[in-house]
Subunit: 404 residues, 2 copies
């Protein structure tokens, strides 16, 4: 059996994702789709709208056959680390293909950019440092540096200021740098732009616009119905009925505030990605901020992207220290979230080739290794009211992988 | 001018406290009453019902002339440390008398017990250790040890299982051990027992029964009216109108739960009073407890009193570590909360004799020294809804002492 791997967040799973999976199978003729999906906290430094279990269920209902968790140590990182962890896991699952969605849609553009930048690592670093000295954020500096190193040549330029092109480029780079045998392809994202805030077609809308409708005070869940598979829509409805809320940063703002107010600058400086005295800005503005959004707005400077600051806040919530992160640079387990019949057939056939242990039951696994993921899940559970917290809090210990 | 000092919590200020102040003045013929009062968290390991500012206001309305804060480092400790800090502060305020309420009401009983135990420190320690080895809590072991060392003699026995006798004995001991020139007297507590849960007379009720009525779902604030001075009653009403709640442990339970879920056993072990592997019980039961009360019930063993466990929880909330506490064994400032006209006259006359700096404005004082009190106040402020938190959060920085 052949598998095509995808790297996803499914926040929530919508028709654009469905299109991506279908195209991936069509392009590669793979027998199954294997997805590696971020757990409770996402790359943008936000809690996922609904639990990883609910999102895994959506995926399995709509064409994914095998879904595993991208550990916290990669899911909450900038593009390069995120991509490297995800690609390592897909490789460990013996995927034959990797197919990602991009604004570009042309794998040649990724290949050309990668070739042009080969051996120019030092030049790139110097340019990035130079731009950052001018006060730019890291992602902006990096995209400008790459532009400078590649635009003089005659090629279909890859626009590396687009979020999915950036991630795609990092996947491409990770596969080639590691010389993984995976074949890579890309699908152009349909119609709605990544950052689109309004619905742009009859059945495709960005996850951002779907979330906005779901989370807005006057939002109406029925309005998003055309843009999601029926099963996703139903699971979203059920989640709110069960847990009384979707998870947003504002649900965790009081915890962040509490933790900041009880911390010393020294303790905060130990948190992952907290650098250059940023802890003093955090301690200064926590007292006056009226909401999480207001807090980030106050702390923000040109130097740090909104996303980076949100990620630091996630690390404060989960109490993730520099030392702990630096000891987790390579994935060392695969947490299985769910399978279809075909997914299970694939596992049976390929399991012996896998380079990493598969965790199906937590009780049977060394909990030390997975401590950070468990902690993140438990903190995530605190985003729902006390009355319904218990089930979500225990889920990571008690729930077996979903079987479809 | 002469001053009589009192050590108080006023949670809330009621007619029993009024009686105590009036008797203290009557017995000592002092010109003013100086009170040292616990800040946001109390000796029993609980948040005060209302802020220290509201409680100071109550006191100044009812006969106290000068009120200062007992720092967190003493207010949240077992009787001996609590008493020693309080007595040091009253001495620093040049008080001529110390008058405490007790179940006994006879200062001779305190004096006799003190004399009998003089030079028996080692015997006492041995007995206490012996009883604790049998599984008893420290307070129980201590009271039994003292009983054993004193009952064979012919004297009016002091019952040291009564909470106010215990505290009184520690005041007595602190004054005499330090050879402070203060004269000590005691007033018998009126009618309602300390632990009484029902009102026992027409105008006197215990603070416990008043709190129960205030905090009970079906409680009716009007029922407590006969037992409080009118000003206290009004201030309690106003507080609820302004901050929408009184402060109870349940208001902080989600913060405690969050902090426990994000902590390692090692981090918890650094918290003050966390001993003998208790951190593992905390981490075990936080996942299943349905409320703060339920949590303490689950963690509790014969070895630890309810009060002690609650105090540890306060230290977790305020992130108070062993190292920080051990560096605060002697008071090194006096935080002024308020004065009457007479209180100000006294300050003017005596200020030069004071051995500790008086803090009236935080901005003018070294904030390092008072960091723990500020932190405790800010964490305390998180017990009210987000909407009204800001004022309470800033109060310790902006509010000058109350002037009546």
């Amino acid at each position: 059996m052949k598998a095509v791997g995808v790297v996803v967040e499914y926040n929530p799973f919508h028709n654009g994702h469905l299109y991506h999976i279908q195209k991936a199978k069509e392009l590669t003729q793979a027998d199954i789709v294997a997805a590696v999906m971020s757990g409770p906290f996402l790359q943008r430094g936000e809690p996922a709208l609904v639990s990883k279990w609910a999102r895994a269920e959506m995926a399995l209902e709509s064409g994914v056959d095998l879904i595993v968790e991208l550990p916290y140590a990669f899911a909450t990182q900038h593009a390069a680390v995120f991509a490297s962890g995800a690609v390592d896991i897909l490789q460990s699952l013996s995927c034959d293909f990797l197919c990602f969605g991009s604004e570009s849609g042309s794998i040649d553009a990724f290949q050309q950019t990668f070739t042009l930048l080969q051996g120019k690592g030092m030049e790139e670093d110097l340019l990035v440092k130079g731009f950052m000295k001018q006060g730019m954020s890291y992602p902006k500096a990096k995209s400008l540096a790459i532009k400078e190193l590649t635009t003089s040549d005659d090629h279909t330029a890859l626009n590396l200021s687009m979020p999915n092109n950036i991630l795609g480029y990092e996947y491409y780079k990770a596969v080639h740098t590691n010389k993984y045998p995976m074949e890579i392809c890309t699908v152009a994202r349909m119609k709605a732009d990544y950052h689109d805030k309004t619905f742009t077609s009859d059945t495709i809308a960005s996850a951002t616009s779907i979330r906005e409708e779901l989370l807005h005070d006057k939002g109406d869940i029925r309005k998003i119905k055309p843009f999601l598979p029926a099963s996703s829509y139903q699971l979203l409805q059920q989640y709110k009925e069960t847990y009384l809320t979707y998870h947003t940063w504002e649900n965790y703002w009081h915890y962040l505030k509490f933790r900041l107010l009880q911390s010393t600058a020294e303790e905060l400086a130990a948190i992952y990605e907290m650098e250059e005295g940023l802890e003093y800005r955090f301690l200064k503005y926590v007292k006056t901020a009226s909401s999480f959004h207001d807090f980030i707005r106050l702390v923000k400077t040109k130097r740090y992207t909104w996303t980076r600051l949100q990620r630091i806040c996630v690390h404060i919530l989960t109490n993730t220290k520099k030392a702990e992160m630096s000891s987790s640079l390579k994935p060392n387990y695969i947490r299985l979230l769910g399978t279809t019949v075909n997914g299970r057939l694939y596992l049976k056939e390929k399991k012996k080739q896998f380079q990493l242990p598969i965790i199906s039951k937590l009780s049977a696994f060394d909990k030390e290794k997975i401590a950070l993921d468990i902690r993140a899940s438990q903190i995530y559970a605190l985003g729902v009211p006390n009355l319904v917290q218990h089930q979500l809090l225990e889920m990571d210990y008690t729930k077996p992988p979903i079987m479809k």
